[in-house]
């Protein structure tokens, strides 16, 4: 990873170029994701649209007036009767406008209006929990890698190995059983107490945090293990590099050496953060159903039980979009802190 001097271009234009490439990639990926959403119901045997219509007709007995509306909206949204490419362009245009169709189970409410409030709950859990796990896990892992052979290293490795393999949703069940049913310290589910109106009062926020504790804990505990394991190995590799051995020979203080190793090992972990968000999100969606937490996972779960495809698809599209925005933010941070991008030099 040698640096190329003198600078060919200014730091800011390098950062911009890096970010531009990333943005183009994320937009391309987003279009692929939307295309998958478009193709799936049209290629899968058994024709989900027909299934949907049968289901709507079953409900028709209860409310014949509304049903005609649902039917028309659906025909319109699936662009029935138009050629496939026109359907696709219609779909793309509507998705980019933020129109994800109409829910079937909650007709006539728009999918976007149903999902948006839940995205706040999901990201509000995902982002802080991931960042806290990242910080604690990396710090623990770095110390473990720096102090090889100590009891601390052994216990970090042992504990991390086990907790990183616990499925979030199972930990969720265990934590609920222990802390809520047995000890009665935390509530056993939900985002806030039944009967409370969401508001910006101290009592409501306290109630939300009280419900937040267990879901937060289950995600932090599981994900910090992975970071600790990865960081330990990165630190060990870093300590063997020439500049570290040279610094040590020069008599650089222990604290300084640790700082060097820590900062340089941290860079790959920042990239890892962007990649891991998707995995954590997947696990969290499932965990939300265990906690009956009012996030998007719970919405998907409800959409699944009523076969509300517009809702499931909409949740998928919105989650992917929010994930890519988060990824782009991480890329931005990476571009700012990595001298190879900021100052120039070989990047791959």
């Amino acid at each position: 990873m040698e640096c190329v001097w003198p600078l060919i271009s200014s730091p800011s234009s390098r950062v911009l170029r890096f970010l531009g490439i990333r943005l183009a990639f994320l937009i391309a990926t987003y279009i692929v994701a939307i295309t998958i959403v478009f193709i799936l119901p049209r290629t899968i045997p058994g024709n989900p649209l027909a299934l949907l219509l049968t289901q709507i007709f079953q409900q028709a007995q209860a409310n014949p007036e509304a049903i005609r509306e649902v039917y028309r909206a659906l025909m319109n949204e699936f662009s029935v009767g138009k050629p496939l490419w026109e359907q696709y362009l219609d779909f793309l245009a509507r998705t980019f406008r933020g129109d994800l169709g109409t829910s079937i189970a909650f007709y006539p409410r728009k999918v976007v209006d149903l999902i948006m409030p839940s995205v706040g709950w999901t990201l509000g859990l995902l982002v802080p929990a991931t960042l806290v796990a990242w910080a604690i896990g990396n710090y623990m892992g770095a110390i473990a890698g720096y102090r090889r052979g100590t009891a601390f290293e052994k216990s970090v490795v042992g504990v991390s190995f086990i907790i990183s393999q616990i499925p979030y949703y199972w930990l969720a069940m265990l934590l609920t059983y222990i802390f809520s049913i047995r000890l009665g310290i935390f509530p056993s589910g939900g985002g806030y107490s039944v009967g409370l109106e969401p508001s910006l009062t101290i009592s409501f926020i306290a109630d939300v945090l009280w419900h937040y504790a267990l879901p937060f804990l289950s995600i932090v505990l599981v994900s910090l293990g992975g970071w600790a394991i990865g960081m330990r190995v990165l630190t060990i590799y870093e300590l063997r590099s020439d500049y570290m051995i040279f610094s040590e020979a020069l008599g650089v203080s222990d604290k300084m050496l640790f700082r060097y190793a820590f900062r340089n090992s941290l860079l790959p972990q920042v990239t890892g953060l962007a990649l891991s968000l998707g995995g954590v999100l997947g696990g969290q969606l499932i965990t939300e159903t265990v906690f009956s937490y009012p996030g998007t996972g719970y919405i998907i779960f409800r959409g699944l039980s009523t076969l509300d495809y517009p809702l499931i698809q909409g949740a998928f599209v919105i989650l992917i979009a929010s994930l890519y925005i988060a990824n782009f933010l991480v890329d931005f941070i990476y571009a700012v802190i990595d001298p190879r991008i900021r100052v120039g030099g070989e990047t791959s």
Partner: protein, 285 residues
């Protein structure tokens, strides 16, 4: 370089590496439980014969669920099927990953660019989310279908790793030497590349078995797992649906989760220990 060690060498390694020995013992115990367990304890995991929600007792060693189903029988059959899902997922993911990674790594150029773009795009779509979306369109899902789903959403990082390994191996001297002495591509792949990648392939296999077991359980919890049969995930799904953990029925959800964690942890320990044995940079002491 990896040389084929003799049996005695393996025993020495096992003795000196207590973690590897522990991982192998735990995993063997689970494997035996899944293979022999249902034969030694031949009770039907799906029969509604027992009393409802009884805690473990002499007649039902792990108690029963809301429908009076025997939970030990479910655990044994579930372990068997979950291992099956795991292995099948690994085979599917690795077959796709090997194909794409090798093509990209060997051909290079524009084919490499295209294949790696596809790989990176699939890698950027969270696999479990994609699996949820696809699974939601199928009303009937076999155990094999679930493994297939987890395989086709999970291959990208293996394709990338295989490509990276091939790229770095291509530049090594002994590969050049073999090329110069006129080895065919097949012989080159079998004699020079495979042995060098064997530990890597083994580790990936183990990690994909974990992906399969955990993925099946995750899909099951939200109701998108296999629609027939018994797996550890399906037992957990019913425990979640019936709120076993909110009603103190610990014998329903604790055992299947424990087996899942024990399986994945022991496999991970085996994978890491093997890596440590063959990777000198990580070797201790």
């Amino acid at each position: 370089m990896v040389s084929i060690a003799s049996a005695t060498q393996y025993i020495v390694i096992l003795r000196s590496n207590r973690r590897l020995a522990l991982g192998i013992s735990v995993f063997s115990a689970i494997l035996i439980m899944g293979i022999v367990g249902p034969i030694l304890y031949p009770r039907d995991p799906l029969s509604f014969a027992g009393p409802f929600e009884t805690p473990p007792n002499a007649q039902y060693p792990l108690g029963t669920d809301t429908y009076g189903k025997d939970l030990l029988a479910q655990l044994l059959h579930g372990t068997r099927m979950s291992l099956y899902v795991g292995v099948l997922t690994a085979l599917i993911a690795m077959a796709i990953g090997t194909l794409i990674g090798t093509l990209a790594g060997v051909r290079g150029g524009i084919i490499d660019e295209i294949l790696m773009s596809i790989t990176n795009i699939v890698l950027s779509i969270p696999s479990i989310l994609l699996a949820i979306l696809i699974a939601s369109y199928f009303k009937v899902r076999s155990i094999e279908f679930v493994a297939f789903l987890l395989g086709i959403t999970g291959w990208p990082w293996y394709a990338r790793a295989i490509r990276a390994q091939l790229m770095s191996l291509r530049e090594r001297e002994f590969v050049y030497l073999s090329k110069m002495s006129g080895y065919s591509s097949l012989r080159l792949a079998l004699e020079d590349l495979m042995p060098n990648m064997a530990t890597y392939v083994f580790m990936a296999f183990v990690l994909y078995v974990n992906t399969g077991i955990l993925g099946e359980a995750g899909l099951s919890i939200i109701g998108l797992g296999p629609t027939q049969g018994v797996t550890l995930g399906i037992t957990l799904q019913w425990a979640a649906l019936m709120e076993a953990f909110r009603r103190g029925l610990w014998w329903w959800f604790v055992p299947p989760g424990t087996v899942i964690v024990a399986t994945t942890v022991s496999l991970l320990i085996i994978a890491t220990a093997v890596d440590e044995i063959f990777n000198p940079r990580l070797r201790r002491g």
